[in-house]
Symmetry: C2
């Protein structure tokens, strides 16, 4: 693997172990150490600087239009969701566009209209930005970077108050990967793998039965309801690159706790499961763009589940597992009996989906 050591390869961007090494050995070496509340080295979904939650996410998906979405909807949702899962309300976005020479203005306008619609759903505004044009190449039309800022709300505070009713040692001000405690329930808001399979089908021209669509959507309004109406959410992530497997490993490593999930509880569409089997993919490693994974204090888990199930974005939500101190890492109780270790994926099993 000499090449992997000396040059950037696709694996470096795939959300698995190779990417984590790149971030730790290069990015953190130069950019770590800033004295802020949630710094870069926390590698959480967003940074906290003073009272501002700050995040930037770059999307380079190909093709730029896919079943259920497009790169514009993806870029806006990605940043909005990263800010929301830390417990903040996103309120302003900046848009960096890299347009490839030859992109049709009709396609460009479709993407702008889709971003505008997604912003409306999320109640956020794009307030600044920058546009660059690059020579025709292999980007597939454009690359979009959306940065966003978010703030604390009454929902942020209510959620923390509820947590403290059950965990008197809890003193985090935000919803962080490192907050999980023994007994917390792990919830996913819906079926896994839809986005990755939808993009893969568009990339490869594959047809999977009835047609799998991306789940890409902004979840901040739903998340705000969860925090405001119920509370008790200690950790939260949107399982994008690397899928559920990567998200749970982040939770486990940063919290120093074990996580045991139940295979029969993990919601996966039948057609996604079948397509994954055909393609040799593990749906737990496939990325999602409209789902959240939550760690919730045990006493509030059923209420969180109920609220989720009453919404279109969360109708297939399930409590899939629990935090434990019986082991480290992530394991799954399989339907055939026995436990299987869920490792951090080495790379993304499929081409870039975000």
């Amino acid at each position: 693997m000499k090449d992997t050591e000396e040059h950037i390869t696709m694996l470096h961007g795939a959300g698995g172990q190779v990417m984590h090494s790149l971030v730790e050995n290069y990015i953190l070496k130069y950019f770590g150490g800033a004295n802020v509340e949630v710094p870069l080295e926390a590698l959480d979904d967003a940074a906290v600087v003073g009272d501002v939650v700050f995040k930037s996410d770059t999307h380079a998906v190909k093709p730029i239009f896919f079943p259920g979405g497009d790169i514009g909807r993806l870029a806006v949702s990605g940043t909005v969701n990263d800010i929301a899962v830390i417990g903040a309300e996103p309120y302003a976005l900046a848009c960096g566009l890299v347009l490839e020479e030859g992109l049709s203005l009709v396609d460009f306008e479709r993407i702008l209209a889709s971003m505008n619609k997604t912003c409306s759903e999320a109640s956020v505004s794009i307030v600044t930005g920058d546009t660059k044009v690059v020579e025709k190449g292999v980007l597939g039309g454009c690359v979009i970077t959306i940065s966003g800022i978010g703030r604390r709300t009454t929902a942020t505070e209510k959620n923390l108050t509820v947590i403290k009713e059950f965990r008197n040692d809890f003193n985090a001000r935000w919803i962080l990967d490192s907050n999980l405690g023994v007994g917390d329930k792990i919830i996913v808001s819906g079926t896994l793998g839809d986005h990755g399979l939808a993009v893969l089908s568009a990339q490869e021209g594959l047809k999977f039965g009835s047609g799998i669509e991306s789940d890409v959507k902004p979840l901040n309004v739903l998340i705000r309801r969860l925090l405001d109406e119920i509370g008790g959410v200690v950790a939260m992530k949107d399982p994008t690159r690397g899928g559920l497997a990567d998200a749970l490993n982040e939770f486990s490593e940063k919290s120093g706790k074990g996580i045991l999930i139940q295979e029969d509880k993990v919601p996966i569409r039948k057609d996604v499961q079948t397509a994954c089997e055909m393609l040799g993919l593990d749906p737990l490693e496939v990325g999602n763009e409209g789902k959240i994974v939550l760690g919730v204090v045990e006493a509030k888990a059923e209420q969180v589940l109920e609220l989720l199930k009453g919404t279109s974005a969360g109708e297939n939500a399930e409590i899939i597992g629990q935090v434990t101190n019986e082991f480290k890492g992530v394991a799954m109780q399989t339907v055939v009996g026995g436990k299987k270790i869920i490792a951090r994926p080495i790379g993304d099993p499929i081409p870039r989906i975000c």
Copy 2:
């Protein structure tokens, strides 16, 4: 020009009239209208949302290393300067990296180290980010988007207090392109065209005499001194794409005033002037990355100039002109006599330099 109408072309990214049309007919159509203090449609250097100044800038320069700088230093300086010229202090950055497959890790590390050094010079931190890898193509190694947030400081307030001593109708809270008043002096902080020529020489393998280097640098510390120690700066821009010609036209259009500059006062290095003549370029249209153009109340112009001249970044500063109500637009008193109209460039005269 049917192609320009229907597809993205390099001209759409070049900072001239074609780009302005793209922004007005597409970007503002979908993203305009947000109810914030300095919105997108002001097309100023950064947006103001509540007390946060917010900006995102994308850099796709080729080659990624050029005389006097690299894409990392350029990206950090670009966003830092855009926030500083509105009168705010940048304090946290987000870094979106698009790495091209095949980029050597040695080059990647050089860029990270350069960004780190530039952040130190500017006293800012990179606190969050995202990295994507794309297939090998024509990007030249990487594209970097730096977003940043800034805040008001005592220097912001002092500057406004000084302005109000001379302009009792002045009620802007920030340094905006639209703030110019008749009689204000126009100052540039140093020689023009150095960055564009340096990148062009690297792109084309040209040698221009003694070697022209990019001026790329963060200017926020210098700008803070100007506001804090002297004040009276009503408008400020860093003249990047489109150069001084574009910056002055922005000032003029948004303020509804004329600007008359003196050709013999505009600082241009002899070798840059010669190279521009050889290549048929107008140095007023060539981009800079370490210079500012200021509109200053007349009574403070000499003091601003003196402070600038005492610094390494401003040693070649000059008062180049004045705001007038005798005409609209931008004109230059030439050394041979007579006035020449300085129009907004149609596109960048040279390949992308930022």
